[in-house]
């Protein structure tokens, strides 16, 4: 730098002296002094340029020139504020929309796990050719689970048994290993009124493996995870704030979860909402305490059982270890266990029962569905509060329906059983032929959580906003072309004065990039509001917060900056190159609006301008058609006949087993509560069932149908219901009768230790009759008896006592399947109340009634059936709303572009119009001329857009319902809408053309 300064300072002097010497030489040669000096100066050349070139040698030329360009660009923009405002606003809308959707994608799909060094964490995943012989499986929703249906090929999952986890932990394959699982709904008391929360059971090393710190108190240590240790709990930061007011007193405070006292030892750090994306838990508990808070029938001594897989295992790789090494080690341990370890057989209670209690026959059966553990707050797929009663034949399979509902149905993916094989004797979990193995997946991608749900709609939206950005670019490009046409003289002068074309192009590009950067800054503001609005919409439809932290972070900012720059270059290129190619002489000679200059350049501009408008209209049509299809899908879903009257129904869930009710107490409690609830003024009728309808959860059972081969199992949906269920929901009976008191007694007996000899009375729906009975009379039909064998207990089967009308079960999209209703006995329940007026109004009365029976019993999942349906449709509503918004935005932008083009055209051809009018043309003809031009462009764009839409909309097909991807009505509707708006947009410039005063126009130059 110093050298440069020195050299430059001397340069002046050097040059002067050089010229002096040359002058001297000339004088010596005989020239006159003045002539000598003149010759010397001329020989030297342009001093200014020499200085500039010398300066350039030393400087970062491009940087200085860039600054110059920016300054100049700012000045030019300030001179035309109207243009700048419109351009910046248009760009802000396009860039803002993209940033908003991208920040959602970032939050849901891309963000790193909120732990230390997430790239070192791996998730264990098992796979085999056939389902292993496990008798209990629980999926906490951390990874996709293919299910263990018999015959399902190549199952895989990420749940392991506790002994397997301990073995891996001790083998020291990883620098730290941890395991976790959902605890299911926990009834919390000891902090005000009873509430229901979500918990997660974690091993002692959980927080250490993840590298987390405490925001208050301390986190778990290995010593906390021993059966003999005092039960302790760590709170979620957000939960701590909302439930305990963020008070530090909570450390050391005792709370009761499912009536078991726990001491709160600390609060997790703020950023850690949970490990698996989308699942957040209010409290963390040690694995060793799982037994205390779980119903023993559910628990089954899982800690020591190798054939009960329920823990998700995550490990941190040792630095320097290859994944392949660790994977081989873990896979080896796994194979050793499943190929050589023996599995306890089911009958005869070889599973160590809880001391002092006989193994309940139902409980001992391996086919018992073991604890779905759905978390509270609807995060779970189902409202199952306790094991659904084992169907008398012993096989109960539970799965939640995968629907379009975005409510994370993840946690508590119900355990699915493998029906055992038929051979007796010691068995292994798997065989060589099945090739069981473990792979290690990076935790970042392996822990899917709820990400999968949101992927499709997010990508569709990303596409939509991408198209909008293109429209915005075309729009601004059109504006810039119009402006460039007016700057021809300026360009010509600059080129004539010696500016290189490259320099001019660079300067113009700088102007356009500046526009887009300013648009980007404003766009971030739009994006912030937009994201905020979307997130509140989402939160208002979920029982819990979204679970994803949205916000503008570095990646999003980087994205915005990149697309701003790219946008600027994209729309700047064409007008810029056009400007720089200006033919100098004509441009310098003529006026700006003379026909000569505008004739040549203007004509070309016009066709590009036309093309841009047609492109904008076509793109807008594509977005509008997509939006139209999605809106119709939503309408179709809303107007589905659900089979029952869903208005004015209040639902709430309740689980007395969580506070210790057992056996017959539970049923008695429900009857009592039902009676009391019916008496509340405003309640027309009350009923209950194992889970409410249209709640995303469903249960399926298998049985043997008479007349089919011995080993063939038939399936049907199943739901346990209480008295008055059908009457409350207005599901009509088509034949037979409803359940009476003795039916419930029989059912209760059949679900107990020793099944009675009577069959369970069953109601079936029309689909069931169609599938299994055909023309046969359903009433009195008996099925499902089973004499019992090594794997399944005997069962006395079912008898059909009535037929009810078809009704939807867990989701709107799923077709109605064959369904059975059995009298409910035990377990958690959901109450349905039909109210005379607004359901929410009687909620306080209901709480009071429940409290009268037992003050410690929290209600949860309280909502109306209409709200429930809304939640099911949440994703469709969100997407339809956003798509509709973007469609309208696209339409507005395209029409603004059309308006701009026509306005410019009119002003450009004012003279020509004036001449025509002066020569006697009718004003209406001029109007029609301009209108015609505009409409022609709109129609061309519409045709092009519909053509593309026909080819492209089929990618949306998976999201649609009852409407074809190429639905003609939607397309026609959109085309008509666009034409109308286009006509409106053309009208103003057309009227202006019509009003041209010929005298003024002719004089105007």
């Amino acid at each position: 730098m110093n050298r440069r300064k020195r050299m430059m300072d001397d340069l002046d002097q050097d040059i002067r002296e050089h010229i002096e010497r040359e002058t001297q030489d000339n004088i010596e040669r005989g020239m006159a002094p003045e002539e000598a000096r003149y010759a010397a100066v001329r020989k030297f050349g342009n001093v200014m340029r020499v200085k500039e070139e010398t300066r350039e040698v030393w400087s970062f030329v491009w940087l200085e020139q860039l600054l110059q360009d920016i300054q100049f660009g700012l000045r030019m923009l300030r001179k035309s504020p109207g243009f700048a405002a419109v351009a910046i606003l248009t760009l802000a809308l396009g860039i803002g929309a993209n940033t908003a959707i991208f920040s959602l994608i970032d939050a849901v799909m891309l963000r790193a796990l909120p732990v230390e060094n997430p790239s070192q964490l791996v998730l264990l995943k098992w796979s085999a050719r056939n389902a292993p012989n496990i008798h209990g499986y629980m999926n906490s929703g951390d990874c996709p689970f293919t299910g263990l249906k018999p015959g399902a090929a190549n199952p895989s999952g990420c749940s392991f048994s506790e002994p397997m986890f301990r073995e891996i932990e001790q083998a020291n394959v990883f620098s730290a290993t941890t395991a976790f699982a959902n605890s299911g709904r926990l009834s919390l008391t000891g902090n005000g009124p009873a509430t229901v929360i979500n918990g997660q059971l974690v091993s002692g090393e959980f927080f250490r493996t993840l590298g987390l710190k405490a925001a208050a108190g301390r986190l778990f240590e290995a010593a906390d995870d021993k059966p003999s240790a005092t039960p302790v709990a760590v709170l979620n930061y957000g939960y701590w704030q909302s439930a305990f007011g963020g008070s530090l007193d909570v450390v050391g405070h005792t709370i009761e979860l499912n009536s078991v006292p726990f001491t709160v030892v600390g609060v997790a750090e703020r950023r850690f909402t949970g490990l698996t994306p989308g699942l957040d838990h209010d409290v963390w508990l040690p694995l060793s305490d799982a037994q205390r808070i779980t119903d023993p029938m559910r628990w089954q001594n899982r800690s020591g059982d190798v054939s009960n897989w329920w823990l998700t295992v995550v490990g941190r790789l040792k630095p320097g270890t290859q994944v392949a090494q660790a994977q081989a080690a873990v896979s080896g341990l796994f194979r050793n266990e499943v190929l050589h370890g023996s599995v306890p057989s089911f009958r005869g209670g070889e599973i160590a029962p809880r001391p002092g209690r006989p193994v309940a026959r139902g409980a001992g059966s391996d086919q018992m569905f073991h604890g779905a553990m759905p978390p509270a707050g609807g995060n779970g797929p189902t409202e199952m509060h306790a094991p659904p009663q084992p169907a008398p034949d012993g096989t109960v399979q539970v799965r939640e329906g995968k629907t379009s509902g975005p409510i994370p149905p993840s946690a508590g993916h119900p355990p699915v059983m493998a029906p055992g094989t038929l051979d007796n004797g010691p068995r292994t979990l798997s065989t060589e032929a099945d090739n069981p193995l473990v792979t290690l997946l990076p935790a970042q991608t392996g822990l899917v959580g709820t990400r999968g749900e949101y992927a499709d709609p997010l990508y569709v939206l990303m596409l939509a906003v991408g198209i909008i950005l293109l429209i915005a670019c075309a729009n601004v490009a059109g504006l810039m072309l119009a402006r460039a046409a007016g700057r021809q003289k300026e360009m010509a002068v600059r080129l004539a004065l010696g500016a290189g074309r490259a320099r001019v192009v660079r300067q113009l590009l700088t102007e356009s990039v500046m526009l887009s950067v300013l648009g980007g800054i404003l766009g971030i503001l739009f994006a912030y509001w937009g994201t905020h609005a979307i997130v509140s919409f989402v939160s208002s439809n979920q029982p819990r917060a979204l679970g994803f932290a949205t916000g503008v972070d570095l990646r999003v900012l980087g994205f915005t900056v990149t697309i701003s720059l790219l946008t600027g270059i994209l729309f700047g290129i064409a007008p810029t190159l056009r400007s720089a190619r200006v033919d100098l002489t004509p441009a310098l000679k003529e006026g700006e609006h003379s026909s000569a200059s505008s004739g040549h350049a203007g004509r070309t501009w016009f066709s590009i301008g036309n093309g841009l408008v047609v492109a904008q209209v076509a793109l807008a049509i594509i977005v509008l058609v997509g939006a139209g299809l999605l809106v119709r899908t939503l309408q179709n879903l809303r107007s589905i006949d659900v089979g029952f009257d869903s208005h004015n129904i209040l639902i709430f869930a309740i689980d007395p087993t969580a506070i210790g009710y057992k056996g017959a107490q539970v049923d008695a409690f429900y009857r009592d509560l039902q009676g009391r609830l019916s008496e509340i003024p405003g309640v027309k009728s009350a009923g209950y069932s194992m889970m409410p309808l249209l709640n995303n959860g469903l249960m399926v059972t298998m049985f043997h149908w008479p007349g089919t081969p011995e080993d063939q199992q038939s399936t049907a949906d199943v739901l346990g219901v209480g008295p008055n269920f059908f009457e409350t929901l207005h599901i009509p009976f088509l034949a037979g009768r409803g359940f009476n008191a003795s039916d419930f007694k029989v059912a209760a007996a059949n679900s107990g230790v020793i099944p009675s000899s009577s069959r369970t009375p069953t109601l079936v729906n029309q689909a069931f009759v169609q599938k299994y009975l055909g023309k046969e009379n359903p009433l009195g039909k008996q099925f499902g008896e089973f004499v019992g064998d090594a794997n399944r207990p005997a069962s006395s089967g079912y008898e059909i006592i009535g037929v009810v009308r078809d009704a939807k079960y867990n989701s709107l999209r799923r077709d109605i399947q064959a369904m059975m209703y059995t009298p409910q006995s035990g377990g958690g329940a959901s109450f349905e109340l039909r109210t005379a007026a607004d359901p929410q109004a009687i909620l306080p009365a209901i709480r009071e009634v429940v409290a009268q029976v037992n003050t410690n019993l929290p209600l949860f999942d309280v909502k109306t059936e209409s709200e429930q349906i809304d939640r099911l449709l949440f994703q469709e509503r969100l997407v339809a709303r956003l798509a509709g918004f973007f469609g309208l935005l696209a339409l507005v932008l395209a029409c603004v572009g059309l308006y701009g083009l026509l306005s410019y055209e009119v002003s450009r051809r004012t003279r020509e119009i004036g001449i025509r009018l002066a020569l006697g043309a009718q004003r209406e003809r001029v109007l029609k001329l301009v209108l015609g031009q505009g409409i022609a462009l709109a129609i061309a764009g519409a045709a092009l857009g519909i053509g593309v839409a026909l080819g492209v909309m089929r990618y949306l097909a998976s999201m649609l319902y009852d409407v074809h991807a190429n639905d003609p009505m939607t397309m026609i509707g959109v085309a008509v809408l666009l034409t109308l708006v286009a006509v409106a947009a053309c009208y103003i410039p057309a009227r202006r053309a019509m009003r041209v005063d010929p005298i003024v126009a002719l004089r105007y130059e």
Partner: protein, 120 residues
């Protein structure tokens, strides 16, 4: 002369000018005006370089470290900036001269193929 022509002319000479300057300085340090005169003289007035273009070239060579500048006094007792070749510049001169010879030889071979084939 249009902008285009002038630019072309200068660009053609830019690299060669550097070479000529280095060669001139090989004989000993001298100041800017003298360099210009030397080039004119030694080329028998064929190369009429715009004298001003010398200075950016000189600064370029200084920036690359091939020549160095220092204050001095000229023949007529006036102050002048003297330029001299550095060791690096000396090496570079050899390299550039070699390249130039190669280039000139190649062009000559193309222009006068008869000398290679021999006259029939």
């Amino acid at each position: 002369m249009s902008t285009k022509e002038r630019k072309e002319r200068i660009e053609l000479l830019q690299g060669t000018l550097d070479l000529l300057i280095l060669r001139t300085l090989r004989l000993g340090p001298t100041h800017g005006h003298a360099i210009a005169k030397a080039i004119e003289f030694n080329s028998d007035d064929v190369l009429q370089v715009e004298q001003g273009s010398l200075y950016p070239a000189l600064h370029r060579l200084i920036k690359r470290g091939w020549i160095a500048a220092e204050e001095g006094v000229s023949e007529n007792n006036r102050r002048a900036k003297f330029y001299r070749l550095t060791a690096k510049g000396r090496r570079q001169l050899a390299v550039e001269t070699g390249k130039w010879d190669k280039l000139a030889g190649a062009i000559a071979r193309i222009l006068r193929p008869a000398e290679r084939e021999g006259e029939p």
